[in-house]
Amino acid sequence: MKLKNISITFLVILVTWLLLNGNLKLPVIGIGVIVSLTVTLMFCTKCDLFSDLKLNPKSIFYMIAYIFVFIWELIKANFDVAKIVLSPSLPINPGILEVNTKLKSKMGRLILANSITLTPGTLTVDIIDDKMYIHQVAITDIDTKKATNSIVRTFEKYLEVIYG
């Protein structure tokens, strides 16, 4: 468990370093390996950022699929906002709804809340226990179950596989 945590943190720091440098010369890689190993061992022997992450072929496939689903939802969200902002009557119907989430891990919830904030007309205001409070611009269903289905399920079915 601990080894997985440390190695993923190390890889993230190393990849960030290589992207920032933009080349693959030997000194750059060497310094990157040394520095990211030091930073990881100094600061991340006790952190549990990635300990809920599952690593099997199915979850890796779902991670890649999730990126595309997310980009598609982000584009849809922007056209939604554009439509509302540009129409003269400003067709909004705002309010704060309550939805349920099945995710247990912290990281999974963080990604779910962030994804909900970036998708059509929804903004996560608060999380209390298993309930998320979501501000929506154009409400269609007040009912908690229906709102859960329409807002959360799109992402949750992927994140369930990735984070459990």
């Binding site: 290589l18 554009a82 704060i96 970036l118 501000h135």
Partner: protein, 126 residues
């Protein structure tokens, strides 16, 4: 060949700036704070991503840095808007009159005005 890449990058940057413009328009037109945050967050996220990506296509050496920037924007932008909305709701910012429902309000433990005045009156006067 180089010209086409330049044109493609310029078009993507232009689309990004259009989204940024729509976000600014949303900030002006929306009636209350929560809706303004909504318009600001979404439009500025995609706008920033597309603008950066266009620059990355024109100047291909920078693409690594651009990807790091895009990931930072994707992580931090929703967090900041969520914190703003939460703080606003806790400090009692009113929603617009067109709002139809607020299920978070009953969950908040806000001191009632009479309790507050009691607390104030109990303090010693000197």
């Amino acid at each position: 060949m180089n010209l086409y890449i330049d044109i493609a990058g310029a078009i993507i940057t232009l689309i990004g700036s259009l989204f940024l413009f729509l976000g600014a328009l949303g900030l002006l037109r929306m009636p209350d704070l929560f809706n303004r945050i909504q318009a600001g967050t979404k439009a500025s996220t995609l706008g920033t991503i597309l603008t950066l990506l266009g620059i990355g296509i024109i100047n291909f050496d920078w693409i690594g840095k651009i990807i790091v920037l895009i990931i930072f924007v994707l992580i931090t932008n929703p967090v900041s808007s969520h914190v703003l909305a939460r703080a606003a709701h806790f400090s009692g910012v009113h929603m617009t009159r067109r709002a139809i429902i607020d299920l978070l309000k009953p969950k908040l433990k806000v001191a009632k005005p009479e309790e507050q005045s009691e607390i104030i009156s109990k303090e010693p006067l000197n």
